[in-house]
């Protein structure tokens, strides 16, 4: 079994929506030369990752094989595809390839980490290709909700793989290249071994709508507004930002961009020539001097993020601007599942200010950037692959997509993160299971999701924390009573006695009775005192807290 093989290995994005990272390899088993497609992030939440700043795939497997990595390709500039490039660049040590707009964003991220902009190579589109070891890789334009999104044509000695990237079939995308069926037919012509394909909207039964359909609705809404208009969308959706800005300009409104990402994305789009004729932009200092009905704010925070412009405006003044009765706030966006609470909080805060909120519930002011079920079928018909490999989806999406492909008579494989698939034969075959996981950016350090650090935080949040200190003298006898502090627990126990008093009394009693065997052994003392604390807390307040016992010995 030393013949060469073509492998596919998702390290992130297969079994979840977020932190995309896919590996392709070609060569003899365990000697494959590797390319990496996308290095994305996913966002923490209080339920599972409190205090964490950012989450990216655990790339330990790649890092151990860093001498075999030929290149990193970034399909497009969404955070779940490019967000980890600055954090992981050093660990992988491979050059990054992307088209100009994506490269602009990637360079910004590398520069923030002190890496040279040389690390990113700007690429032209297919049929030009980048040679990366045994692979030739070309960027094929495809429409999505960000400029210059691309599928990848990955040619290897074992045949052609097409990696769809995130996509929709939009022939009028406002900004960027329309979907071009002839180009994709061209890609398909020599025969395609496998299509690794976006699964996000596999449950959406109808053909997707074009970005161009939201323009007239937005135009009507803004032209009928009488107060200030604020609109939020993903900053990276440059087409939408353009549509909003132009509708504003035509309604006699000056446009102000609020939020770092909003300014950064528009700047990148203008610098790279993706965006032309964007209306003149004014600063917040100009806004406050203008009549409200002459202003359109385009702001970040469509997902309810607490620190973004939307949330700040909802809470009160932001850069000197306050909203008022009769203003209009438009969510030109869909709320990603899990973000509902944050978005609803903003809507209610705006309601308290008398602001009218329009969201996407009518379906008029937003369209998805992903291909719906019939669109997936259409691309698969055009590309006509031997094998369909669903990616970019939770398990339910991958499973449904696998079944859809199979129903259409194709081989398909449900490959989740860590499942290495051998694509060399006519049928996909699971070659190996690789350990995968998540890496947390926590402050300035990277920690493993399973290191126990975040688990301890969650436990303190659920159970509270009791700290016990006891000083042992030279004879291994307690010097005075143990001392307790509680954090995150009721101060009072039953019968209105302070909890720490009861704890200290119970611990004092315990120590008074404790045998020498216990008193001379720190571990034993800690275990037993922890047990006393938990029992007392359970009896007094009905909770079993986390307990830290600190034994100081004077000896």
């Amino acid at each position: 079994m030393s013949s060469e093989r073509l492998i596919y290995l998702p390290l992130g994005g297969a079994g979840e929506i977020g932190m995309n990272c896919y590996v392709y390899g070609y060569g003899a088993p365990d000697k494959e030369r590797l390319i990496v497609v996308d290095l994305g992030v996913t966002f923490p939440d209080m339920d599972g990752s409190p205090g964490v700043d950012l989450i990216f795939p655990d790339v330990a497997w790649l890092e151990e094989r860093r001498d075999r990595i030929e290149a990193v390709f970034i399909t497009h500039a969404h955070e779940d595809h490019v967000g980890a490039v600055g954090h992981l660049f050093e660990r992988l040590g491979a050059k990054v390839y992307a088209r100009p707009f994506t490269a602009n964003i990637a360079r910004g991220k590398l520069e923030e980490h002190g890496f040279s902009e040389q690390a990113v190579q700007t690429c032209s589109i297919w049929p030009e290709t980048v040679t990366a070891g045994p692979f030739k890789v070309g960027f094929v334009p495809i429409s999505h909700s960000i400029p210059e999104s691309s599928g990848l044509v990955i040619d290897s000695p074992a045949g052609r793989v097409v990696h769809s990237g995130d996509f929709k079939l939009d022939e009028t995308p406002i900004v960027g290249e329309p979907f071009d069926p002839a180009l994709w037919a061209e890609v398909a012509r020599p025969g395609v071994k496998a299509l690794v394909c976006d699964s996000t909207n596999v449950f959406s039964p109808h053909e997707g709508r074009s970005e161009a359909t939201v323009g007239p609705e937005i135009e009507t809404l803004i032209s009928n507004a009488s107060g200030m208009v604020v609109a939020t969308t993903f900053a990276s959706n440059v087409a939408r930002v353009k549509t909003l800005a132009e509708a504003g300009a035509r309604a006699g409104r000056s446009v102000c961009l609020l939020g770092r990402a909003m300014r950064r994305m528009i700047e990148a789009a203008i610098q790279t020539g993706v965006l032309k004729d964007f209306p003149t932009v004014i600063g917040p200092e100009d806004v406050v001097q203008m009549p409200r009905e002459n202003v359109l704010l385009l702001v970040t925070g469509s997902q309810g993020e607490r620190r973004a412009a939307s949330a700040q405006l909802a809470r009160g003044k932001f850069h000197g601007i306050t909203l008022a009765e009769g203003d209009l706030f438009l969510f030109s966006s869909k709320t990603i599942p899990g973000n509902e609470r944050g978005v609803i909080r903003i809507i209610n805060q705006l309601s308290e200010q008398g602001v009218d909120v329009v969201d996407d519930s009518s379906g008029r002011y937003h369209v998805s950037g992903h291909a719906n079920r019939p669109d997936l079928e259409r691309l698969q018909q055009i590309v006509d692959p031997q094998i369909v490999v669903p990616m970019h989806g939770e398990h339910r999406h991958l499973r449904e997509h696998t079944r859809l492909a199979q129903a259409n008579g194709r081989a398909a494989v449900l490959a989740v993160n860590g499942m290495m698939v051998d694509l060399s034969g006519n049928e996909p075959k699971v070659a190996e299971y690789v350990e995968t996981g998540r890496t947390y950016l926590d402050g300035s350090v990277q920690i493993g999701a399973l290191d126990g650090i975040v688990r301890d935080r969650i436990r303190m949040a659920l159970n509270g924390h009791v700290i016990v200190t006891v000083i042992m003298d030279e004879e291994d006898e307690p010097l005075g009573d143990p001392w307790c502090e509680v954090m995150g627990l009721s101060e009072m126990g039953r019968n209105n006695t302070p909890l720490v008093d009861i704890l200290e009394a119970d611990l004092g009693q315990f120590l008074g009775r404790a045998k020498e065997k216990t008193l001379t052994d720190d571990d034993r003392m800690e275990d037993e005192m922890r047990r006393v604390v938990r029992q007392t807390c359970q009896a007094e307040i009905g909770k079993k807290p986390e307990v830290s016992v600190i034994v100081s010995r004077l000896s």
Copy 2:
């Protein structure tokens, strides 16, 4: 200004969906005799209330006036209306009135807290009334997603108030009384001063659908299923549970109820005669011995609750039952905003087991229990009140509902929790602002939401916790070095040095340089050592943790 007045005061449920608690009063200002409508709970979440078991309205205002409380009326047995009755009964000390099914549930809650079932009085429907001080209160049947839901007719010397309760206009509700327009016209006949009205679905533009419309869809789905069928819905939706069970029975399936609430609700419905002819139920021990295609499980946990039957089945074996490839899992429910993550987790776990999941995205297997916008207008037309007071909604719902009523030519007032409204005149008028809030059930104790206890937990979860102990000798000199423990923080700092080593070194250095003024003053020592710890952590790991400093003095 000593003339008598009629007041309305929401303490919970106005400005939020959950923990409903509304107060009505009649009498001279500050001497009003009071009645309470509903004592509900809302559920904690990791974002805002980690570790909390249950949330209910802060009833301090009522408790201070407990001698003026005539009675508590419960409109229906949903947790957000009856859930706090056991927890708050003793503090309010007033008798509870409800219709039989609701009374059955309320009694169960009181008994759990050791109160006599005598505390709950079972009521007949209007025109029978309960006299409660200056009020006469009658229960008017109205359809909702639970049996025996009721509006209240509240007669006072200042006129008639109608409290809608939660409702929809369903003339074929399967279980319980249909909406009866003639009855409500009868209620309206003498003239209604105010309608205090459910606002939940004010943004739903179309007429609501009847519970009867889901039956045929469910029937088709279950009769076509080939493996085990599992269906989840709110246990209290007895009509839905009946529809599901009967569809199962007709498809030759034996029905098994899983989850405490499911069994409790069906038991209450049978005991009170609300539910008749429910199919025979089998236990989980019988299920495991039957062919899969002969089983229908009706389970709790439609909102993704981690400990409910749905989540347990999704994670693996529950009461000996495991799901398998080809089984069908039906969410006959809508996911309440904020619960998406939990529900999606379950769906993906089921997908991993090969189970087919059907949810409400098609709109076929669930209908809402609340009146949509045109239904609200219809009830208001029938009741024809002078004043509309929107309740049971977030701020955005109350505001929209206020505007809807005003657009229809009625006086309306947007009254949020704590806003006391004087309904005596022709126009509603804000009489007073009362301090309100939330009470947390935390383990076995009640704590205030603003006590700082949960805030400390959230801070530990976000920032981690460092504990510093230092022993001071008789001369107020540190005895040895300070000692650190960290919880919820990276163990390693920059340069791969253990964080505690660096902290202890920095603290040792600080103490070496500290002046007597500091070393003799515990507060000062704690503040300055906390600052040292936070600075060092910021430099080493980019985080500023919570810090507990414990100074032990041998003197």
